[in-house]
Symmetry: C2
Subunit: 154 residues, 2 copies
Protein backbone atom coordinates (compact mmCIF):
# COMPACT_ATOMS: atom_id res chain seq x y z
CA UNK A 1 0.00 0.00 0.00
CA UNK A 2 1.21 3.47 -0.73
CA UNK A 3 1.95 5.98 2.01
CA UNK A 4 -0.53 8.42 0.49
CA UNK A 5 -3.21 5.73 0.60
CA UNK A 6 -2.52 5.08 4.27
CA UNK A 7 -2.67 8.75 5.07
CA UNK A 8 -6.02 9.11 3.38
CA UNK A 9 -7.33 6.14 5.34
CA UNK A 10 -6.15 7.27 8.74
CA UNK A 11 -8.21 9.71 10.76
CA UNK A 12 -6.72 12.92 11.98
CA UNK A 13 -6.73 14.09 15.64
CA UNK A 14 -8.67 17.29 14.95
CA UNK A 15 -11.35 15.40 13.01
CA UNK A 16 -11.74 13.06 15.99
CA UNK A 17 -12.12 15.99 18.40
CA UNK A 18 -14.76 17.58 16.14
CA UNK A 19 -16.61 14.28 15.86
CA UNK A 20 -16.40 13.78 19.65
CA UNK A 21 -17.68 17.34 20.20
CA UNK A 22 -20.74 16.27 18.24
CA UNK A 23 -21.18 12.58 18.95
CA UNK A 24 -19.01 11.67 21.93
CA UNK A 25 -20.46 10.95 25.35
CA UNK A 26 -18.66 10.97 28.70
CA UNK A 27 -20.73 8.89 31.03
CA UNK A 28 -20.42 7.67 34.59
CA UNK A 29 -22.74 4.79 35.49
CA UNK A 30 -23.32 4.05 39.15
CA UNK A 31 -24.69 0.59 39.78
CA UNK A 32 -25.73 -1.15 42.96
CA UNK A 33 -23.12 -3.67 43.94
CA UNK A 34 -23.23 -5.38 47.31
CA UNK A 35 -19.62 -6.46 47.10
CA UNK A 36 -18.42 -2.85 47.30
CA UNK A 37 -18.08 -1.27 50.72
CA UNK A 38 -20.10 1.81 49.69
CA UNK A 39 -22.75 -0.42 48.08
CA UNK A 40 -22.21 0.92 44.55
CA UNK A 41 -19.86 0.40 41.68
CA UNK A 42 -18.63 3.39 39.62
CA UNK A 43 -18.25 2.75 35.88
CA UNK A 44 -16.88 5.64 33.84
CA UNK A 45 -17.08 5.28 30.07
CA UNK A 46 -16.51 7.28 26.91
CA UNK A 47 -18.55 6.28 23.89
CA UNK A 48 -19.42 7.32 20.38
CA UNK A 49 -22.59 5.72 19.07
CA UNK A 50 -23.32 5.43 15.35
CA UNK A 51 -25.65 3.64 12.97
CA UNK A 52 -24.19 0.35 11.83
CA UNK A 53 -23.47 1.88 8.40
CA UNK A 54 -20.78 4.03 10.02
CA UNK A 55 -19.08 1.12 11.76
CA UNK A 56 -15.90 1.51 9.71
CA UNK A 57 -15.42 5.01 11.11
CA UNK A 58 -15.70 3.62 14.65
CA UNK A 59 -13.10 0.99 13.74
CA UNK A 60 -10.81 3.75 12.47
CA UNK A 61 -11.25 5.68 15.72
CA UNK A 62 -10.34 2.49 17.62
CA UNK A 63 -7.30 2.14 15.39
CA UNK A 64 -6.30 5.76 15.98
CA UNK A 65 -6.35 5.41 19.77
CA UNK A 66 -5.00 1.86 19.94
CA UNK A 67 -7.37 1.02 22.79
CA UNK A 68 -11.12 0.76 23.39
CA UNK A 69 -13.60 -1.49 21.65
CA UNK A 70 -16.24 -1.42 18.91
CA UNK A 71 -19.38 -3.24 20.04
CA UNK A 72 -23.15 -3.34 19.63
CA UNK A 73 -24.82 -0.46 21.47
CA UNK A 74 -28.46 -1.27 20.78
CA UNK A 75 -30.69 -3.29 18.49
CA UNK A 76 -34.23 -2.07 17.95
CA UNK A 77 -36.75 -1.33 15.21
CA UNK A 78 -34.42 1.43 13.88
CA UNK A 79 -31.78 -1.24 13.26
CA UNK A 80 -28.43 -1.86 14.89
CA UNK A 81 -26.35 0.85 16.55
CA UNK A 82 -22.68 0.34 17.18
CA UNK A 83 -20.41 2.12 19.61
CA UNK A 84 -16.75 2.84 20.09
CA UNK A 85 -16.23 2.71 23.83
CA UNK A 86 -13.41 3.14 26.28
CA UNK A 87 -13.64 1.73 29.79
CA UNK A 88 -11.12 1.14 32.52
CA UNK A 89 -9.19 3.83 34.37
CA UNK A 90 -5.92 3.20 32.56
CA UNK A 91 -7.28 3.65 29.03
CA UNK A 92 -9.55 6.49 30.10
CA UNK A 93 -6.49 8.31 31.45
CA UNK A 94 -4.87 8.02 27.99
CA UNK A 95 -8.10 9.33 26.43
CA UNK A 96 -8.14 12.28 28.84
CA UNK A 97 -4.55 13.08 27.94
CA UNK A 98 -5.54 13.08 24.26
CA UNK A 99 -8.34 15.61 24.90
CA UNK A 100 -5.96 17.74 26.96
CA UNK A 101 -3.59 17.95 24.01
CA UNK A 102 -6.51 18.47 21.58
CA UNK A 103 -9.22 20.42 23.45
CA UNK A 104 -12.92 19.96 22.84
CA UNK A 105 -14.52 23.15 21.48
CA UNK A 106 -18.16 23.04 22.57
CA UNK A 107 -18.88 24.34 26.10
CA UNK A 108 -21.37 21.51 26.72
CA UNK A 109 -18.91 18.71 25.91
CA UNK A 110 -15.98 20.52 27.51
CA UNK A 111 -17.87 20.80 30.79
CA UNK A 112 -18.78 17.11 30.83
CA UNK A 113 -15.16 16.30 30.08
CA UNK A 114 -13.99 18.35 33.10
CA UNK A 115 -16.45 16.59 35.41
CA UNK A 116 -15.45 13.22 33.97
CA UNK A 117 -11.80 14.03 34.64
CA UNK A 118 -12.62 14.76 38.28
CA UNK A 119 -14.32 11.38 38.61
CA UNK A 120 -11.28 9.72 37.07
CA UNK A 121 -8.92 11.55 39.45
CA UNK A 122 -10.96 10.39 42.44
CA UNK A 123 -10.95 6.83 41.15
CA UNK A 124 -7.20 6.85 40.57
CA UNK A 125 -6.81 7.87 44.21
CA UNK A 126 -9.28 5.10 45.20
CA UNK A 127 -11.46 7.75 46.86
CA UNK A 128 -14.63 6.38 45.28
CA UNK A 129 -14.25 3.39 47.63
CA UNK A 130 -14.88 5.60 50.68
CA UNK A 131 -18.28 7.05 51.61
CA UNK A 132 -17.05 10.62 51.34
CA UNK A 133 -15.32 10.08 48.00
CA UNK A 134 -18.26 8.14 46.61
CA UNK A 135 -20.60 11.00 47.53
CA UNK A 136 -18.41 13.36 45.49
CA UNK A 137 -18.43 10.97 42.53
CA UNK A 138 -22.21 10.69 42.77
CA UNK A 139 -22.62 14.47 42.60
CA UNK A 140 -20.22 14.78 39.67
CA UNK A 141 -22.06 12.04 37.80
CA UNK A 142 -25.37 13.80 38.43
CA UNK A 143 -23.97 17.13 37.22
CA UNK A 144 -22.62 15.53 34.03
CA UNK A 145 -25.97 14.99 32.49
CA UNK A 146 -28.90 16.50 34.27
CA UNK A 147 -31.41 15.16 31.79
CA UNK A 148 -30.41 11.56 32.28
CA UNK A 149 -31.82 9.62 35.21
CA UNK A 150 -29.35 7.45 37.03
CA UNK A 151 -30.37 3.83 37.20
CA UNK A 152 -30.67 3.87 40.96
CA UNK A 153 -33.25 6.62 40.81
CA UNK A 154 -31.59 9.70 42.31
CA UNK B 1 -3.33 39.49 21.15
CA UNK B 2 -0.64 36.92 20.57
CA UNK B 3 -0.53 34.73 17.50
CA UNK B 4 -0.77 31.65 19.69
CA UNK B 5 -3.92 33.05 21.28
CA UNK B 6 -5.46 33.64 17.88
CA UNK B 7 -4.54 30.17 16.77
CA UNK B 8 -6.19 28.65 19.80
CA UNK B 9 -9.32 30.67 19.14
CA UNK B 10 -9.65 29.77 15.50
CA UNK B 11 -11.22 26.51 14.46
CA UNK B 12 -9.35 24.11 12.25
CA UNK B 13 -10.72 22.63 9.00
CA UNK B 14 -10.46 19.01 10.17
CA UNK B 15 -12.29 19.81 13.41
CA UNK B 16 -15.09 21.38 11.36
CA UNK B 17 -15.35 18.29 9.14
CA UNK B 18 -15.51 16.03 12.22
CA UNK B 19 -18.17 18.23 13.78
CA UNK B 20 -20.13 18.30 10.51
CA UNK B 21 -19.86 14.50 10.24
CA UNK B 22 -21.65 14.39 13.59
CA UNK B 23 -23.90 17.43 13.66
CA UNK B 24 -24.15 18.80 10.12
CA UNK B 25 -27.27 18.41 8.02
CA UNK B 26 -27.61 18.74 4.26
CA UNK B 27 -31.22 19.44 3.57
CA UNK B 28 -33.31 20.24 0.52
CA UNK B 29 -36.73 21.72 1.29
CA UNK B 30 -39.33 21.69 -1.46
CA UNK B 31 -42.15 24.14 -0.88
CA UNK B 32 -45.29 24.87 -2.84
CA UNK B 33 -44.90 28.13 -4.70
CA UNK B 34 -47.42 29.21 -7.30
CA UNK B 35 -45.05 31.74 -8.81
CA UNK B 36 -42.72 28.98 -10.03
CA UNK B 37 -43.50 27.30 -13.33
CA UNK B 38 -43.19 23.82 -11.81
CA UNK B 39 -45.31 24.88 -8.81
CA UNK B 40 -42.56 24.33 -6.24
CA UNK B 41 -39.55 26.15 -4.92
CA UNK B 42 -36.34 24.23 -4.16
CA UNK B 43 -34.43 25.41 -1.07
CA UNK B 44 -31.14 23.64 -0.38
CA UNK B 45 -29.54 24.35 2.98
CA UNK B 46 -26.67 23.18 5.14
CA UNK B 47 -27.10 23.58 8.88
CA UNK B 48 -25.53 22.70 12.19
CA UNK B 49 -27.94 22.95 15.12
CA UNK B 50 -26.73 23.36 18.70
CA UNK B 51 -28.04 24.27 22.13
CA UNK B 52 -27.76 27.99 22.77
CA UNK B 53 -24.83 27.33 25.15
CA UNK B 54 -22.73 26.35 22.14
CA UNK B 55 -23.56 29.47 20.15
CA UNK B 56 -19.98 30.73 20.24
CA UNK B 57 -18.83 27.63 18.38
CA UNK B 58 -21.41 28.33 15.68
CA UNK B 59 -20.10 31.90 15.46
CA UNK B 60 -16.57 30.55 15.04
CA UNK B 61 -17.74 28.24 12.25
CA UNK B 62 -19.36 31.25 10.58
CA UNK B 63 -16.10 33.14 10.97
CA UNK B 64 -14.13 30.24 9.52
CA UNK B 65 -16.22 30.08 6.36
CA UNK B 66 -16.81 33.81 5.97
CA UNK B 67 -20.40 33.19 4.83
CA UNK B 68 -23.62 31.76 6.25
CA UNK B 69 -25.55 32.94 9.26
CA UNK B 70 -26.13 32.08 12.92
CA UNK B 71 -29.84 32.23 13.78
CA UNK B 72 -32.50 30.77 16.02
CA UNK B 73 -33.46 27.27 14.95
CA UNK B 74 -36.19 26.53 17.50
CA UNK B 75 -37.57 27.68 20.83
CA UNK B 76 -39.44 25.15 22.93
CA UNK B 77 -39.62 23.74 26.46
CA UNK B 78 -36.04 22.43 26.06
CA UNK B 79 -34.85 26.01 25.59
CA UNK B 80 -33.43 27.79 22.56
CA UNK B 81 -31.56 26.04 19.78
CA UNK B 82 -29.34 27.98 17.43
CA UNK B 83 -28.10 27.06 13.98
CA UNK B 84 -25.29 27.91 11.64
CA UNK B 85 -26.83 27.78 8.21
CA UNK B 86 -25.78 28.30 4.63
CA UNK B 87 -28.33 29.02 1.93
CA UNK B 88 -28.06 30.32 -1.61
CA UNK B 89 -26.42 28.50 -4.49
CA UNK B 90 -23.32 30.68 -4.52
CA UNK B 91 -22.35 30.12 -0.86
CA UNK B 92 -23.39 26.48 -0.99
CA UNK B 93 -21.00 25.99 -3.91
CA UNK B 94 -18.16 27.35 -1.73
CA UNK B 95 -19.25 24.99 1.05
CA UNK B 96 -19.25 22.04 -1.35
CA UNK B 97 -15.74 22.97 -2.49
CA UNK B 98 -14.63 22.99 1.16
CA UNK B 99 -15.97 19.45 1.71
CA UNK B 100 -14.32 18.31 -1.51
CA UNK B 101 -10.96 19.50 -0.22
CA UNK B 102 -11.70 18.08 3.28
CA UNK B 103 -13.84 14.95 2.80
CA UNK B 104 -16.50 13.85 5.24
CA UNK B 105 -15.66 10.48 6.82
CA UNK B 106 -18.99 8.90 7.74
CA UNK B 107 -20.76 7.00 4.95
CA UNK B 108 -24.14 8.40 6.03
CA UNK B 109 -23.08 12.05 5.81
CA UNK B 110 -20.93 11.47 2.75
CA UNK B 111 -23.89 10.01 0.86
CA UNK B 112 -26.14 12.93 1.74
CA UNK B 113 -23.41 15.29 0.65
CA UNK B 114 -23.18 13.58 -2.77
CA UNK B 115 -26.94 13.83 -3.28
CA UNK B 116 -26.90 17.46 -2.14
CA UNK B 117 -24.16 18.20 -4.67
CA UNK B 118 -26.29 16.75 -7.44
CA UNK B 119 -29.18 19.02 -6.45
CA UNK B 120 -26.83 21.98 -6.46
CA UNK B 121 -25.48 21.07 -9.91
CA UNK B 122 -29.02 20.88 -11.29
CA UNK B 123 -29.88 24.23 -9.75
CA UNK B 124 -26.76 25.89 -11.14
CA UNK B 125 -27.87 24.69 -14.58
CA UNK B 126 -31.40 25.99 -13.83
CA UNK B 127 -32.74 22.51 -14.47
CA UNK B 128 -34.91 22.58 -11.36
CA UNK B 129 -37.09 25.12 -13.17
CA UNK B 130 -38.16 22.52 -15.75
CA UNK B 131 -40.55 19.65 -15.00
CA UNK B 132 -37.97 17.01 -15.87
CA UNK B 133 -35.22 18.63 -13.81
CA UNK B 134 -37.55 19.27 -10.90
CA UNK B 135 -38.54 15.62 -10.87
CA UNK B 136 -34.86 14.68 -10.53
CA UNK B 137 -34.41 17.16 -7.68
CA UNK B 138 -37.47 15.77 -5.93
CA UNK B 139 -36.10 12.23 -6.08
CA UNK B 140 -32.69 13.31 -4.81
CA UNK B 141 -34.29 15.22 -1.94
CA UNK B 142 -36.33 12.15 -1.03
CA UNK B 143 -33.26 9.91 -1.12
CA UNK B 144 -31.32 12.32 1.12
CA UNK B 145 -33.26 11.58 4.22
CA UNK B 146 -35.70 8.75 4.01
CA UNK B 147 -36.89 9.18 7.57
CA UNK B 148 -37.91 12.78 7.06
CA UNK B 149 -41.29 13.54 5.50
CA UNK B 150 -41.30 16.30 2.94
CA UNK B 151 -43.71 19.09 3.75
CA UNK B 152 -45.80 18.47 0.69
CA UNK B 153 -46.46 14.91 1.74
CA UNK B 154 -44.70 12.72 -0.82
Amino acid sequence: MSGAGDQQERLNADWIVGFADGEGCFHVAINRCQKMRVGYQVLPEFRIVQQERNELVLAKIREFFGFGKVAVNRRDHHGVRKEFRVRGVENLRKLVEFFERHPLQTPTKKQNFELFKEVLNLMEQKEHLTSHGFERVRKLALAMNRRRRLRWGV
